[in-house]
Symmetry: C2
Subunit: 238 residues, 2 copies
Amino acid sequence: MAAMEHVAADADIAPVAALIADPTRAAILTALLGGQALAAGELARMAGVSAATASAHLSRLLDGALVAVVRQGRHRYYRLAGPEIAEVLEVLARVGGRPPVRSLRQSRQARMLEEARTCYDHLAGRAGVGLFDRLREAGCLAGEEVTPEGERLLGGLGVDVEGARRARRRFAPECLDWTERRAHLGGALGAAITAVLFERGWYVRGPVPRAVNLTDAGREGLAALFSGKELTSHTPVT
Amino acid sequence: MAAMEHVAADADIAPVAALIADPTRAAILTALLGGQALAAGELARMAGVSAATASAHLSRLLDGALVAVVRQGRHRYYRLAGPEIAEVLEVLARVGGRPPVRSLRQSRQARMLEEARTCYDHLAGRAGVGLFDRLREAGCLAGEEVTPEGERLLGGLGVDVEGARRARRRFAPECLDWTERRAHLGGALGAAITAVLFERGWYVRGPVPRAVNLTDAGREGLAALFSGKELTSHTPVT
DNA sequence: CGCATCCTTCGGCCTGCGGCGAAACGTGCC
DNA sequence: GGCACGTTTCGCCGCAGGCCGAAGGATGCG
């Protein structure tokens, strides 16, 4: 969930938030969430303000690079500047729209996500930090590197450590886990390990989008892995 | 990327954004991104304002449920209210911090993501909308349902359509694709199909977090699938 | 060219809200 | 109890910025 590894070094979030913070601008942006470009006048009508007001807002949104404009005859069609903008609006909507009290179903789903989930492409939640801890305890990790011991253990599991090292992303960064408030393993290595866990069927995806479940095979496999026993051989799917 | 299916029916995003929009509050929230709870006075010092000012801000953040507080003696320790809040801040940071001009490497990554990526747990990008179109053309989908023809084709592929229908989420909603500006298939069915694509090795995850790549096997398999030929039998990994 | 349409710029009004110091409140310590 | 300290509440000031109507481009049409 917390994609610390991807956050630009302390970017100014206030100016962007300020652009979205005005109700009229928010209405405009939400209207544009549909994906199609809309004319300035139409946006003014949708937002319930005069053309002059809407124009001022659109000008600021343009400055802030939240929207882009294409002139066509005497119309100016505005659209969101990119997918990231839509993402921001959607995440904000999830936070703003969350009900003050959770339904039973929601809290059940929340508990599942706390137990084990994916964070982008690596394992997170209690399972994620647990795995990270056990890898450290077993002496597999030192700083952002893998020890020879770790190479052996992960290699035996079927993880392509060398491949992960060559990937175009950070190798083994800690990724702050937001439900556990502690680190789990992210980056190329975290993704590679997680891929193997799925290939082996040790974890399977759950009904809720990012939830994953530990299988019986996974429980046994992980226990064996960290008790030092050799693993049964394994043929990857690809 | 566009998780339309999860957005609450037009939630008010402006109030949340307004809370983040003030530079002082943004500084406080960013300070709390570290994960540990901090005392009010400490936050005041970090944000560079008087205790009175910080207190007022914290009070508003508390009202808006962006932070939570725990009293301990004469201190009050504030922390972010939950993982969603961290997520909002991180997404905002990505947008606010994005460089005006993309590096070669970034634009290469962006192109990869435009071609094919995952959106939560289903296929998106050109590949996602393409697959959706071909499923529709083949008469597999009707509204939010699967036709008998679709049952046959997907069943032959190894997709558990019945299982997806029973899942605790929408079955086959359209999900707006933000790079293509058209719909792709989301929900339980989209996830189930995507899972099979990975199991069969038709798609593999790429070096960039959400990127996926079509394999040669995938190209052939998909071509065969939509040309009506029978598929080679398939043993799932789990 | 003249007019209608769409959009932006300008000038003025006014509310909202962030800032501070001082005082009040609550808690721990002696 | 009395004091110190952390935090909140109160009162006040100042300004950023949202709103509109009117005027000023720009574009298309006849």
